[in-house]
Amino acid sequence: AQSVTQPDIHITVSEGASLELRCNYSYGATPYLFWYVQSPGQGLQLLLKYFSGDTLVQGIKGFEAEFKRSQSSFNLRKPSVHWSDAAEYFCAVGEGYGGATNKLIFGTGTLLAVQP
């Protein structure tokens, strides 16, 4: 079965420091991969997605992610974190995209805290 693993439950970084959030997936076919962010009391917002092509994907708010098929990973990065980036981040794989359905299978999330 398809699954997504986010090994880090909670990460704390200093404002201005770089960030990398890890995501590993298990999927039999070419995966459709997503990163969403969830701020308190807010719905999930799409940061970026990978369907095919260039394995380095640029997203909103200065985030990027790199798809590495050999490592089954899709890690999210940001070169300089801002206090407003404090939120929970979810990696997801799309099941059935381009086919019969488009179900998102989410990881358990990584809660990011930003220190001044």
Binding site: G41, L44, L46, F90, G94, Y97, N102, K103, L104
Partner: protein, 116 residues
């Protein structure tokens, strides 16, 4: 453009009571999803509609959960009777394309349900 609207935002009920949640998707969006997000977990898809038809309800506990999308616009999700383990945030999402498309899913703010 208005986002996905959900109501109520919070609900507290006793176990064995019934509860209903309402979702109004982005105007013109054909596909609507209901996800359940239990504390500490990523969202899990409960049901996916395309217009007013069900595409996927394989993870909906049909003995107590029901959902409908009359006229292919608004949707309601009902739980009857509720159990303690139903305490969660219920997220509604919508996307413009038909099931199986690669369109972005836009999420509402969710309804937080507490079952006592």
């Amino acid at each position: 453009e208005a986002g996905v609207a959900q109501s109520p935002r919070y609900k507290i009920i006793e176990k064995r009571q019934s509860v209903a949640f309402w979702c109004n998707p982005i105007s013109g969006h054909a596909t609507l999803y209901w996800y359940q997000q239990i504390l500490g977990q990523g969202p899990k898809l409960l049901i996916q509609f395309q217009n007013n038809g069900v595409v996927d309800d394989s993870q909906l506990p049909k003995d107590r959960f029901s959902a409908e999308r009359l006229k292919g616009v608004d949707s309601t999700l009902k739980i009857q009777p509720a159990k303690l383990e139903d305490s969660a945030v219920y997220l509604c999402a919508s996307s413009s394309g038909l099931a199986g498309s690669t369109d972005t899913q836009y999420f509402g703010p969710g309804t937080r349900l507490t079952v006592l």
